[in-house]
Symmetry: C2
Subunit: 218 residues, 2 copies
């Protein structure tokens, strides 16, 4: 059994690795956790002892398969709780992260599965990140920025990149939320704006800044 803090380190190591960093170093971990490299080293030693990571100076930290299982299950819980907070408790996209950061550590054998079922087995969290299944598989991340979408195709909104109140409010005014379908009608090369159709009827033009901050999937 691992502590809350160990879970956080494993999660961060997983995320840093996935972000394509060359080497997961104590300094990088400390930066991500807003603490001290010396603290990170303390914890790396502990995780090595527990065989949850392997670590050497030249190659950095790598999760063992046991470590990866824990990291993914923490991420799964985090993303499920984010969906819960957004869908059920009507939080905004920018408010869910900090609370989910706490909820992800609640210990119970079947809580995540029950939550998953209750939420209708969501595929993505409100930031467009895929939710791992209970056996640790994550769907291929087929999300893209609306900017990169193809004319004529229809997409589903899965999240936002920018989650400033301004952007969120603008989205609300356009009736765009998680799951809204958006069809790309036209791309205007002059200013990189886009003509899109929201749902079945509404049509509007959106700026490049807009389309760079809306995550969709096919």
């Amino acid at each position: 059994m691992q502590t809350l803090s160990e879970e956080n380190y494993l999660k961060i190591i997983y995320n840093l690795d996935k972000q394509g960093i060359k080497k997961v170093t104590p300094t990088a971990i400390a930066k991500a956790l807003l603490n001290n490299p010396a603290s990170a080293i303390d914890m790396l030693k502990k995780l090595v002892d527990k065989k949850l990571i392997i670590y050497d100076k030249t190659r950095g930290a790598k999760l063992t398969s046991a470590g990866k299982i824990i990291a993914i299950s923490v991420i799964r819980r985090h993303r499920l709780w984010e969906v819960f907070l957004l869908d059920k408790l009507a939080y905004e996209w920018d408010q869910v992260h900090d609370i989910a950061e706490q909820l992800e550590h609640i210990r119970s054998p079947d809580l995540a599965d029950r939550l998953d079922k209750f939420l209708g087995h969501p595929q993505y969290d409100p930031h467009g990140d895929p939710i791992p299944s209970s056996n640790g598989e994550m769907v291929m991340n087929s999300r893209l920025m609306l900017e990169e979408a193809n004319v004529g195709k229809t997409y589903k909104v899965i999240g936002v990149k920018d989650s400033s109140p301004e952007f969120l409010q603008y989205l609300k005014r356009l009736d765009i939320g998680i799951g809204t379908s958006i069809t790309v009608k036209e791309k205007i090369s002059f200013d990189n704006s886009m003509m899109i159709q929201i749902g079945k009827n509404r049509q509007t033009s959106v700026s490049r800044v807009f389309s760079q901050n809306l995550l969709v999937c096919e």
Copy 2:
């Protein structure tokens, strides 16, 4: 801001007091928290420093108004989460306590209120205990054992005393859950059994042991 552990102590002090114990002593607290009286004294000192309790050997520990506000809000969160786990995640009555024990410490200014709203402002938790309102008021506890109910009156099920799997399964077979209405048809003095009506149609006889373990309110 108080730590998780401080919250637990405040909650226990509140509960012990409410249970009618004459004096909330370090030993009683330690027993409730499954730890050592010496630890309890450490914490009592800390809580006195923070002006969340007053303590002297002869009178025991008493919550200050600041301490009481915190204790009640922890209890509110605990009971709301219990309702969530039971109603939404389909946990059984006997499984919710331990998870709620963790969830009650999640920190967020408006989480409890949002949860409360989402759950439809429940009055009681699955153990029949009243849920404090956001301003800290608790409804008069009008719960009673079915055993004490009056013939001819209709009651609402609010919880169970015994939460063994056997009892819970029996209840499920009788279609009795939180909120089910039960009308007392007759009391049989011979063996203290009862004839009750469940919902609108179903009628059955229940033993004294049964009626001593089902909590209802008017």
